[in-house]
């Protein structure tokens, strides 16, 4: 801005130039005046402007400059001194203010500049935050996807659904082209393509599990980028030229039940993994982002857990199903077994009865024959017949009682007998058969074997006969030796049966019998089979071994009832066989007079010394007779109840009574009717009480009427003690009383 300092111009002013200056000054003034106005206007508008004082100064400076230029307008013509003074004042003021402003600006401009840098900085920061915000949002998206995926996967317990859902949801979330799951085969040596996203039925692609790329994926629990050309990624046939998208693979651990310990997380020492392969769309520039990989890893873990849950559930359902089936089968088997047992019992009962009748006839007639005059050879023969038939009867009884044996409810008939005689008789029975086979039998009784013993003679004989009989049966040539001795405690311990520790007590001793044969022997492995009921060891084809395998099993049970043990030793095939049994026998405390030899009286053998609380019911109207009969039965050890009338008898009769005695002596008494009623009430053969009539005479008519109403026997009164004893014995053995005509 130029101000003319001349008061009076020297030359006459040039009009054009003057005009232009005049106009320019005018406009300058205008501008100078409007600028502050604009400033004020805009500053007023803005909320924040820290430099008001500067503004004022600046405003003043501009206004004064404008004023100067305005006043300059008047100085183009001749002007008065006042104008000059004003002009000078204005210029002076302007000068002052402008210097002040200049000074002020020195302070302000750096500040303003720094504001600019801060602004830039903040803009950068905002951009960064924006970026991060974007990232977080993406992550949250991912998280949502994972939760949704997990929810989908975990909402089902079906393995296939889980896997299919995984693939579908992953494909959708990540917008994949293809997603595949490879499962290890049973052998664990290959991976088989199990599920894919796009293809409906993946057909048996397999890939060996030992590929390096697979090992690489299995060795880490992170998702690994793999080449699109490796076998697991090349699922679909390559068609056309396209750049395959990036492929990522991740392992899915297949956890087993046994991996879950209570307080630990499952150790990933499980060797089985499945492989999940994910392919991005081809021909897109998409790349795998970190958050996508993380998503894949999380999903893989969730799938593993869901799969193991599904596996556990499957397992437990299968087990439950199996149990159910087994239960059904067991139930059926049990019912069949029960039916079979019942059928067997019925059959045995019937057969038993049928068998007993002729046996009984044989025994009775042989004993009668014994009474007649016989030459010694005949007598011997008859005795042998009697002995054998008695044994046979016992055998029949025992076959029937096999179930009772197994229940353990069978009791031994203990009595005093002569041990030596028993051995000799057994040998006599076997000798004929042995001599036919040209086998020699020797018996050695140790000197300390006592003469007398208390035990079940018949059953002991049966065991002995069975053992020796087996020896004879299976030996074709050579000899059989029987050794009997009293066993000492130490020698009784058998390594094979460590739980059998015989304890010698007072009044008892253990008899050890050893039967050694020179037969073909037994393979040591077959020895346990001998004791099972019907199993037979392998016999060479030229052996004629008939008969059921019942014998040795029964012997074993008898021997164990006698608190003993039986076993077989053999050195092997071709080296013979030794059967050994040990039984506990009592020593008789006092000798009860002359010992009755076994064969003297067939019926005596069946006598029991005491009937052990046998429950009996007596019906008799006569008080004295009732008391006498009661005393008789009580003397024999029975548990007796008496009634005096048939009403009382019918009331009292129950299955707890084994025998009911009905006195028929009163004429016009209803003893027979009572018997008929009782018979009708208890119809089952086994458990019903036996009904016996006590009659004053046993003529044919009485006996017939007795049998007609179903009584089991008819006895003549008065009854002696011995007679009653033998009647009871017979009753219990044969369930009928055989009364000689």
């Amino acid at each position: 801005m130029e101000s003319c300092n001349c008061i009076e111009p020297q030359w006459p002013p040039d009009d054009l130039l003057m005009k232009y200056q005049y106009i320019s000054d005018f406009f300058i003034a205008l501008a100078y005046f409007s600028i502050p106005l604009e400033l004020i206007y805009f500053v007023k508008k803005s909320a924040v402007f820290p430099y008001r004082w500067v503004l004022v100064q600046f405003g003043a400076f501009i206004v004064l400059c404008g004023a100067t230029h305005l006043i300059n307008l008047w100085t183009f013509r001749i002007h008065t001194k006042t104008v000059e003074v004003v002009m000078t004042t204005a210029k002076v003021l302007t000068a002052v203010v402008s210097c002040a402003t200049a000074l002020m600006l020195v302070h302000i401009i750096p500040d303003l500049l720094s504001v600019k840098t801060r602004e830039l900085f903040l803009k950068n920061k905002a951009a960064e935050l924006d970026r991060e915000m974007g990232l977080i949002r993406t992550q949250e998206e991912t998280g949502r996807h994972v939760r949704m995926l997990t929810h989908e996967i975990r909402s089902t317990l079906d393995r296939h659904t889980i896997l299919k859902t995984t693939l579908v949801e992953l494909g959708r979330t990540l917008a994949l082209e293809e997603c595949a799951l490879w499962m290890p085969t049973r052998t664990g040596l290959e991976l088989q393509l199990a599920y894919t996203l796009r293809q409906q039925n993946p057909v048996g692609f397999t890939v060996p599990i030992q590929l390096p790329v697979i090992n690489q994926v299995f060795s880490t629990n992170r998702a690994v980028k793999i080449s699109p050309n490796c076998p697991v990624a090349r699922i679909r046939p390559v068609s056309g030229k396209y750049i395959p998208g990036e492929v990522v693979a991740v392992r899915v651990p297949l956890l087993h039940l046994s991996n879950f310990q209570i307080n630990d997380w499952p150790e990933l020492s499980t060797k089985r993994y499945a492989l999940m392969v994910l392919m991005l769309p081809s021909d897109s520039a998409r790349q795998w982002h970190v958050h996508e990989l993380e998503l894949v890893e999380v999903v893989a873990d969730q799938v593993a857990v869901a799969l193991s849950h599904a596996a556990i559930l499957e397992e437990s359902m299968r087990a439950q199903q199996q149990l159910l089936e087994q239960n059904v089968a067991l139930d059926l088997a049990r019912r069949e077994a029960e039916t079979a047992i019942r059928a067997r019992n019925d059959f045995l009962a019937v057969m038993n009865h049928e068998m007993r009748t002729p046996m009984h006839a044989i025994i009775a007639l042989s004993s009668l024959l014994q009474e007649t005059d016989l030459i010694p050879e005949q007598r011997l023969m008859v005795e042998a017949i009697l002995k054998s038939s008695n044994l046979l009867t016992t055998l029949i009884n025992d076959v029937l009682d096999l179930s009772r044996l197994e229940d353990g409810s069978l009791k031994l008939d203990n009595g005093v007998f002569n041990l030596h005689t028993m051995f000799r008789e057994v040998l006599n029975l076997i000798k004929p058969i042995a001599s036919v086979k040209k086998l020699s039998i020797t018996l050695t009784l140790a000197p300390d074997v006592p003469e007398l013993a208390v035990g079940d003679e018949k059953r002991l004989m049966q065991v002995l006969l069975n053992v020796i009989g087996n020896a004879v049966k299976f030996t074709k040539e050579g000899s059989i030796s029987v050794n009997a001795l009293v066993a000492k405690a130490e020698s009784l311990r058998d390594a094979r049966t460590p739980d059998f520790i015989p304890a010698a007590t007072d009044g008892h001793y253990y008899l050890r019998v050893q039967v050694k044969d020179s037969g073909p022997g037994i393979n040591p492995q077959d020895i346990p089979k001998l004791y099972t009921k019907f199993a037979e060891t392998q016999t060479p084809p030229n052996r004629n071994s008939g008969g059921s395998g019942l014998g040795l099993a029964i012997c074993k049970r008898f021997v164990s009832l006698m608190e003993g043990n039986i076993w077989i030793e053999s050195d092997g095939l071709g080296k013979g066989c030794t059967a050994i049994f040990v039984v506990k026998l009592g020593s008789p405390e006092r000798s009860n007079g002359p010992v009755v030899p076994f064969a003297s009286n067939a019926l005596v053998n069946q006598i029991q010394s005491s009937f052990g609380g046998l429950k009996a019911l007596i019906m008799d109207e006569n008080g004295v007779s009732r008391t006498v009969t009661k005393g008789l039965l009580m003397h024999l050890g029975c548990n007796v109840t008496t009634v005096a009338s048939s009403e009382e008898c019918l009331l009292a009769a129950s299955q707890e009574f084994k025998v009911i005695f009905i006195d028929l002596c009163m004429p016009g008494s209803d003893g027979l009717e009572t018997a008929a009623h009782i018979r009708k009430r208890f119809s089952k053969r086994h458990e019903r009480p036996l009904i016996v009539a006590l009659a004053g005479s046993t003529d044919r008519m009485t006996r017939e009427s007795c049998f007609r109403v179903g009584m089991d026997g008819c006895i003549l009164k008065p009854v002696s003690v011995d007679r009653m004893r033998s009647v009871l014995s017979e009753l219990l053995e044969q369930r009928t009383v055989f009364e000689p005509l």
Binding site: G623, G631, H635, P718
Partner: protein, 152 residues
């Protein structure tokens, strides 16, 4: 000789005589066999019971025969009962009398019945006194520390 042994000898002789005279038969021997540790007084109890029963029966019999109209079947029943009891303990002679009694009843022979009844009573009284004597002997033997001898 010891007093116990004396008594025992006497007991045996008396028993033998009762048997020989048929007052007692084999059944009584059987009865004696039934006495054991659990019921040592069995014989005594049965015999006492017999006496009670018999007295009742004899009473019934006399009453029945005194009726204006005699019910012979009733009488026969009583006689049969008596026969039963007596044969149970082996009272032989009494039993035989009962048999005869029954026979008369069947014939409806009142006279015979009455006679029989009298004889029956006689037999019964004799038997009873013999038994009482026997039991006294037993008590004496036992008191002196001996045991009752058994007849084989």
């Amino acid at each position: 000789m010891d007093i116990v042994q004396l008594r025992q000898r006497h007991y045996i002789d008396f028993m033998k005589s009762m048997h020989i005279e048929n007052y007692l038969d084999d059944q009584f021997t059987q009865l004696q066999k039934l006495a054991d540790e659990s019921s040592p007084d069995f014989v005594y109890e049965v015999v006492t019971l017999f006496f009670q029963d018999s007295e009742k029966l004899i009473d019934n019999l006399s009453k029945a025969l005194e009726q204006p109209v005699v019910d012979f079947s009733q009488v026969a029943n009583h006689a049969h009962q008596f026969k039963g009891s007596s044969s149970s303990i082996g009272a032989h002679r009494v039993k035989n009398q009962c048999v005869k009694f029954r026979a008369y009843c069947e014939e409806n022979n009142l006279e015979g019945c009455l006679n029989c009844l009298q004889e029956l009573q006689q037999e019964y009284i004799v038997l009873k006194s013999k038994f009482e004597y026997l039991f006294e002997l037993e008590q004496e033997i036992l008191k002196n520390g001996g045991t009752i001898p058994t007849m084989d």
